[in-house]
């Protein structure tokens, strides 16, 4: 990471710490904002947050790994999460999985070569009456069929 980038990241975190306070409890909102702005929380950002909140970097890392929506490593531009919970499973999730993997040429947990899409499983999205359900970034798609899923993926840039 370039020095200029590092400095601007530090400035950004300093503003966030100013905004949310130096308490331990400010950790989550700060992480969420960094995640929103940068799509991931780099190891440098984690250490800066730790320094400014006076906690240990490993504690920041521990929190990030606990939550699925916080990433310590960069992922694809779009994150596609398919519900793997029992109702969606009964409603034909496996067919959707096969179609998606065939279409993108990657498995769940992987990112496409062009960095366009990262595929992940999610636990219950709360759409059990309309499964199988899919989350593209923060938009929910329901009642998926293999065809519909492929159509949705192709519209993602």
């Amino acid at each position: 990471m370039l020095v200029v980038e590092k400095n601007s990241l530090t400035d950004e975190i300093e503003v966030l710490v100013e905004k949310y306070g130096k308490e331990r409890s400010s950790l989550l909102p700060i992480l969420q904002e960094i995640q929103r702005n940068h799509k991931y929380i780099s190891d440098f950002a984690q250490q800066e947050i730790a320094r400014l909140l006076d906690i240990h970097p490993v504690e920041v890392y521990s929190v990030i790994t606990f939550y699925s929506f916080l990433n310590a490593k960069p992922k694809g531009r779009n994150i596609v999460r398919l519900c793997r919970t029992i109702t969606c499973d009964l409603l034909g999730k496996e067919n959707v999985v096969a179609a998606i993997e065939r279409e993108l040429g990657i498995k769940f947990g992987e990112t496409t070569k062009d960095n366009r899409i990262t595929l992940e499983y999610a636990n219950c999205l709360g759409m059990c009456d309309q499964g199988p359900a899919l989350l593209v970034n923060d938009k929910v798609y329901t009642e998926l069929t293999p065809e519909k899923a492929v159509q949705i993926l192709n519209s993602v840039r």
Binding site: H56, Y61, F66
Partner: protein, 639 residues
């Protein structure tokens, strides 16, 4: 649907309410309880676990440790509390009302057995090939609860790679039971913050920042995590095979130095209670194993006192008389390699405050491969120098590139007390039955001052015994009864003491005559010293110094990375608890009092070495070359 209590929430989701005392004036009082139908009276706020232990009722635990905060994660200590729907974790249940407890019901036994079975289902590794074989808390529990089959299966293949990147600590996560003792040790007790639980649910594991190897993160190698690990998931990097090889090679001259703390603790590995000093028995055992010479690290501890004490006097003289603004005060001790690395990482700007004197281990290493090699006529390259230390960080210290001042690696191997005990057992020796032998010449004698280095406050006490005599010309015994400086003893996290010099100063002793002309400049001065043990306490002092608080006015501060000092070191026998540390310290202080020579400068071997070898005196050119070192600004950024 409403349940019988008229609440909408189903019974399973009703929160448990720990009853509060009805009458708050009873706080500090006692409460009567029943454990297994027997009545007891316990202080209000006692946990069920404490109450049971106090009354000799055994409750199994894995995550509980006397040094650490309550976690309540392993759930092995569950008991039945009458009126409670579920089992309660006894370690995390403070008694605030009269309750009835059952510690051994079918439900309790079944729950505990299930927990053990579940732990074993994910525990990979053979007991035979484990360092903790026969001293493993999980193994002991499996026996206690009669585990004769794996009810929930057993993992057949290794799931994690062993991390042996560090010189000191090896992590084998296949054996981890997620008790988080290491996490609480590293974050709460030591405030170093290397280890934390990462991920969630079934994927939870203990890891480092960004899953890096231990050698690449800020680990100070103190080994306190090893000392608290209930299984073999954390252990020191064993080098005993290399030492056997050296012993068996007749071309090699293998010498060993023993530090005071292992001698006060190694008996525990042979079934003795804590607090039995094995100094002279250990000498015999080491000779029988095949070491060519056995030396007492206390000798270089005495040397450290002279060098570090002289350095302090030079610093004070420069600051007070020559008004040199560059001089860094307070001076910090540098004997604890864990503390040194902690400072290099967390407070690199204070490196100038650190005494440049090496630790006793490293001083001895440099002398063995120069002075001693000459004396016995052995080529230094054929000498293998081993040190028995209570410490895992000593393994890192002897591998520092700056520790090669003799032209060779000054100390080849640092062994922990545990590894030493293992080697002795391997040689078929039962240590407590050994006859007593003295240390080998030419370093033979050591003083009690060197001995007490092992306990927190010991270095400071040893230094003061010498400095007071140097400056006032009076005997230390005239000021402190029996030369015991009691305010510096004990296990309080931070100790502070002021020693008024008074208006009567003595003549400058010959040893340092070339450095200061007289003591008149110290007339009426008050020497301020402090002692901290455990890096969490060290951090408190460092933050105070940063703020310009009381400790920034100190002249000399002793820091030890491990709680209790070296006697509680990360290489000491497992378990180490506050009670055991106390007994080990008592053993050291008792041995000190039994010695005739109890001040470093009274040690005849010290006088001799300054006449024969370091003849330009302390802090001179040669002593700087061999006995002093420099430090590295490491910082806390993890690349």
């Amino acid at each position: 649907m409403e349940n019988k209590n008229g609440l909408r929430a189903p019974v399973s989701q009703k929160p448990h309410v720990v009853p509060k005392p009805e009458d708050t004036s009873t706080i500090g009082g006692t409460v009567s309880i029943e454990i297994n139908d027997v009545k007891y009276s316990v202080p209000l706020g006692t946990t069920i676990l404490e109450a049971c232990r106090e009354n000799h009722i055994h409750i199994p635990t894995l995550c509980h440790h006397d040094d650490l905060c309550i976690a309540g994660v392993c759930r092995l200590c569950v008991v039945e509390v009458t009126g409670m729907r579920t089992l309660q974790a006894s370690c995390a249940y403070p008694i605030t009302a009269p309750i009835k407890i059952k510690t051994s019901t079918p439900m309790v036994r079944k729950a505990r057995r299930h927990i053990i079975d579940l732990m074993l289902s994910e525990h990979h590794g053979e007991c035979y090939s484990c360092v903790r074989n026969n001293n493993c808390e999980l193994q002991a529990l499996a026996k206690e609860y009669g585990v004769d089959c794996y009810n929930f299966g057993h993992v057949k293949e290794s799931q994690y790679e062993i991390d042996d990147s560090s010189y000191s600590v090896v992590r084998d996560m296949d054996k981890c039971v997620l008790c988080k003792r290491c996490v609480r040790t590293c974050i709460d007790l030591q405030e170093v913050g290397v280890l934390e639980a990462i991920n969630r649910g079934g994927e939870t594991m203990i890891s480092t920042f960004m899953d890096k190897q231990l050698a690449d993160v800020i680990c100070i190698n103190c080994g306190q995590c090893i000392n608290r690990c209930p299984t073999g998931a954390l252990h020191e990097k064993d080098t005993s095979d290399d030492i056997w090889k050296a012993i068996d090679d007749h071309a090699k001259h293998v010498v060993i130095q023993t530090a005071p703390s292992p001698r006060a603790a190694i008996g525990e590995e042979f079934g003795l209670g804590a607090g039995h000093s094995m100094t002279y028995e250990l000498n015999t055992a080491l000779k029988r194993i095949g070491f060519d010479a056995v030396f007492d690290t206390n000798f270089t501890a005495d040397l450290t006192i002279i060098e570090e004490g002289t350095e302090l006097i030079i610093r004070l003289y420069k600051a007070l008389i020559e008004k040199d603004k560059e001089v860094a005060l307070p001076q910090f001790t540098s004997c604890s390699p864990g503390w040194v690395k902690y400072l290099e990482h967390f407070y690199p700007e204070y490196i100038p405050n650190l005494s440049s004197a090496k630790s006793p281990q490293q001083m001895f290493g440099a002398l063995i491969k120069t002075f001693y090699a000459d004396k016995v006529g052995v080529d230094a390259k054929d000498i293998v120098s081993v040190a028995v230390m209570p410490c895992s960080a000593k393994k890192f210290e002897c591998n520092r590139p700056e520790m090669e001042d003799s032209g060779f690696k000054d100390v080849d191997y640092g062994l922990t007390t545990r590894e030493m005990a293992k080697m002795i057992k391997e040689a078929g020796i039962h240590l407590p039955e050994m006859p007593k032998t003295h240390f080998d010449s030419p370093f033979g004698d050591a003083s009690g001052a060197g001995l007490i280095f092992g306990a927190t406050g010991g270095v400071m006490e040893a230094a003061i015994r010498t400095v007071v005599e140097f400056v006032t010309g009076n005997k230390t015994e005239d000021i402190f009864e029996k030369a015991n400086i009691l305010p510096l003893r004990g296990f309080e996290g931070i100790k502070y003491m002021e020693i008024p010099i008074g208006n009567n100063v003595g003549p400058v002793p010959d040893l340092i005559k070339h450095l200061v002309p007289d003591w008149n400049w110290l007339k009426g001065a008050v020497l301020k010293v402090a002692v901290a043990h455990g890096t969490a306490n060290a951090k408190k002092i460092m933050e105070d110094i940063k703020r310009g608080g009381k400790f920034s006015e100190c002249h000399f501060i002793e820091f030890m990375a491990c709680p209790g000092g070296c006697i509680g070191g990360g290489g000491q026998p497992i378990p180490t608890t506050p009670e055991i540390r106390k007994k080990r310290a008592e053993a050291i202080y008792a041995e000190d009092e039994s010695l005739e020579i109890r001040k470093s400068h009274d040690n005849p071997s010290i006088k001799k070495i300054y006449q024969e070898f370091l003849n330009e005196g302390p802090c001179s050119h040669l002593s700087h070359k061999l006995l002093h070192t420099h430090y590295k600004k490491r910082g806390r950024y993890i690349a």
